[in-house]
C-alpha cells in the first residue's frame, strides 16, 4: 500500500530517519513515540506536505516522493483544528468530494454509509462547526476524510483531546473503517494503550529513528532496545552481568537478584545486559498453593513498601529481601482485594523465565532495518 524507503528529513536541528517502513493493503499500522519523535513530520512527508532530504515514498507501486499532496489521494485526520470554520458541517464533509469532482450518486451513497457508520444524522444540518463538541468534530472530520473514498488514511493523534469514553467509541469506529471499508490506516500516537489496541503492527519511533517494528506481543513483551522498553512503560528494568550460559541458551545472571533468563543473542559470560519484566507479569505466590514447574526458578521473598491505586488496577512496590532491588507488581483490583496486602506485608514473588526479556546493553540504540509489515 505504502512503502517508505530510506527516508530522511531535517527540521532545524532535528533529523528524521533513515526510515524504512511498509504498510500492506488493508493493514493497520500504529507509530508509537513520545512527543518530538518525528511522527508528524513522517506523516507530512508521506502526505507531500513536507519535502524529504532523501529517500522515497511509494504508493501502490508508484513512486510519489515528488508528487503534490492533492495527487496522492491519502486521507488525513490531523490532531486538531481539522474543520474549516467558515463552512457548515455538511459543506465540511463534502469539501474533498466536491474538490475531486466525484459523481454525485457516488457521493450520495458514500455519504449515507458514513452517516450510518459515524451517526452523523443529528449534526449534519448544523450551520456552523463551532457548535460541535470535540467528539462530534472528529466524527465530521473523519467523514470528510473518508467521503472521497481513499484507500489510505493517516491519523495524527486524532483523539488526544477527547475524553476516555468518546475516545473509545471512535477507536471502535476506526477498527470498523479498517475492516469493513478496507481502508489501510497509518495512525501515529504517543498513547501506548491506543497504539497497542488499534495497531495490527506497531512501529516505535524515538528521536527520529525507528527503534522497533513488530506485532503487539513483540513490542510489549520483547522490546528491541531500552528506549522501546521505556516508551512501553516497562517499570522493572535492571542492569546485570551474565554469570553463566546454559546448554539450552538460557542465562544465569549475577548479582543480588540471581535470575535465570531465556538469554539474548550476542551476549556471553561476563557481558552486561539489561533485564526486565512488565509489572503485570510478576507472579505473586499464594501461600499454601502448589507451585507450578515454570514458577520453580526466579523465586524471591519480598516486602510490600508502597501501594498505588489506578482505578481498575493496583500497583504494589515490593523490595526483594536481602537486596536493594525493588519491583512494581500490578494486580487487577479483584486480585488485590482477595490478597488483601498492606504496606509492610511479606510475600513471595516469581519472575517467569518467559516473561523476562534481556538485551545486550550495547544494543540499546539498535535500529530496525528494512522492517516488513
Amino acid at each position: 500500500m505504502i512503502r517508505i524507503k530510506q527516508l530522511t528529513a531535517r527540521q532545524g536541528n532535528f533529523l528524521l530517519g533513515p526510515i524504512d517502513l511498509d504498510l500492506e493493503p488493508g493493514g493497520y499500522l500504529t507509530i508509537l513515540g513520545p512527543s518530538g519523535a518525528g511522527k508528524t513530520v513522517l506523516l507530512e512527508i508521506c502526505l507531500g506536505l513536507v519535502a524529504p532530504v532523501s529517500g522515497e515514498v511509494w504508493l501502490e507501486g508508484v513512486e510519489v516522493t515528488r508528487l503534490p499532496p492533492e495527487q496522492r489521494q491519502i486521507a488525513y485526520l490531523p490532531q486538531d483544528l481539522t474543520l474549516f470554520p467558515h463552512l457548515s458541517v455538511s459543506d465540511n464533509i463534502l469539501f474533498g468530494a466536491r474538490q475531486q469532482r466525484l459523481d454525485p450518486d457516488v457521493i450520495q451513497s458514500r455519504l449515507q454509509e458514513l452517516i450510518d457508520l459515524l451517526a452523523l444524522d443529528d449534526i449534519l444540518g448544523r450551520p456552523a462547526v463551532g457548535t460541535l463538541s470535540g467528539g462530534e468534530k472528529q466524527r465530521v472530520a473523519l467523514a470528510r476524510a473518508l467521503l472521497p473514498g481513499p484507500r489510505l488514511l493517516f491519523l495524527d493523534e486524532p483523539f488526544s483531546a477527547l475524553d476516555a469514553a468518546i475516545k473509545r467509541q471512535l477507536q471502535v469506529k476506526l477498527r470498523q473503517i479498517n475492516r469493513e471499508m478496507g481502508v489501510s490506516l497509518l495512525h501515529v500516537t504517543h498513547d501506548q494503550e491506543e497504539a497497542l489496541l488499534l495497531g495490527e503492527r506497531i512501529a516505535v519511533l524515538i528521536g527520529g529513528r525507528l527503534r522497533q517494528v513488530g506485532s503487539r506481543d513483540d513490542i510489549y513483551y520483547r522490546p528491541a532496545s531500552l528506549d522501546v522498553a521505556r516508551v512501553l512503560r516497562n517499570q522493572n528494568i535492571y542492569e546485570r552481568q551474565v554469570e553463566q550460559v546454559y546448554a539450552n541458551g538460557s542465562f544465569k545472571l549475577a548479582g543480588d537478584l540471581p535470575l535465570i533468563t531465556s538469554g539474548c543473542p550476542g551476549a556471553g559470560p561476563g557481558d552486561r545486559v539489561a533485564v526486565g519484566i512488565r509489572s503485570e507479569e510478576v507472579t505473586i505466590i499464594r501461600p499454601g498453593r502448589p507451585i507450578g514447574p515454570d514458577l520453580q526458578e526466579n523465586l524471591f521473598e519480598a516486602k510490600v513498601i508502597d501501594i498505588l491505586g489506578f482505578g481498575g488496577t493496583h500497583t504494589l512496590t515490593v523490595a526483594v529481601t536481602d537486596s536493594e532491588i525493588q519491583l512494581d507488581v500490578e494486580l487487577p483490583n479483584c486480585a488485590f482485594r482477595d490478597l488483601g496486602y498492606a504496606i509492610g506485608d511479606r510475600l513471595q514473588i516469581a519472575l517467569r523465565r518467559r516473561s523476562l526479556w534481556a538485551l545486550p546493553l550495547d544494543s540499546s540504540t539498535r535500529e530496525v532495518d528494512n522492517a516488513q509489515l
Binding site: P69, E70, Y76, P85, Q99
Partner: protein
Amino acid sequence: MTSVVRDLPFRLALIVPLVVLTGYFLLLLGSQYAFFSAAAFLNQLALPEIQAAIVLSLGSATVSALLAVSIAVPSAYLLARWEFPGKRLLDTFLDLPVVLTPIALGTLILMAWNTPAGRLLEGVGLTLPFTVAGVVTAQFTVVAAVALRMLKATFEQIDPRYERVARTLGCTAAGSFRRVTLPLAARGILAAFILTWARAIGEFGATVMVAGTARGETATLPSSIYLAMSVADLPHAVTLIILLLLVALAVLFAVRFALGRRS
C-alpha cells in the same frame, strides 16, 4: 479598608487619562460649532471645486486602496507563510513608508520619476505632476505598507493546517488559498481595505508634493482644507472638515462592524 477604597488611586489613574483624552477630542469637534451654519454648509457643498475635491478624494482613495490591497494580499500571504533568507530584512524594508514622513515620500516619488525607469513610465503615459495619476500614486505609496502590515497579521492568524488539510482533500496550493484561506481572511481583508481607504482619503503630504493642489483638478479634501485655511476661508474649511469627519465616523463604524463580526 475596602477593596474599592484601596484600589481608588489605581482606578483614578486609569479613568483620568481617558476622560482627558475624550474631553480633548470633544473640544476639537466642538470648536467647529462656532463656525458652522447649515445654510453655509449646503452653499459650500454646491461649489464646483468642493464637489470636485469630494469626487477626487473618494475616487482616488478607492483606486489607491484597491491597488494597495490587491498587491498586499499576495505579498502579505507570502511573508506570512514562506521562510526564505533575508525575509526579516525585506519585512523591515517594506515598513519604511510607514515611518517615513509623507512629504519625504512625495519627494522620493518625484525623484524616482526623474530616473530612467521613471521616465520610461512617463513615456507610457504615467505622468504624475499635477495629474490624478499623481494623486493615486502618492496615496498608494503611503498606504500600501499599511495594507501589507494589516494583511500579514490577518494571514498569520489563520492556522496553516487548514490549508494543509485542504491540500490532502484535493486542493492545489492556489485552490486551498482560494477556497480556505481567502474566505477565512475575508473580514481582515475588508477591514484592511476600509482602513487603507480612510488613510488614503486623509493623505496630504505626499499628494501635495506629487500632484499639487490645483483647484478642481488635483485638490483633494485635505489639500482643499489647507488651501482654504491659507486664505482664512473658514466656512470653506469647516465644510471640508465636517465632510472628512463624517467619512471618518462612517469608516470607524464600518471597521468595527467588520472586525466585530469576525471575532
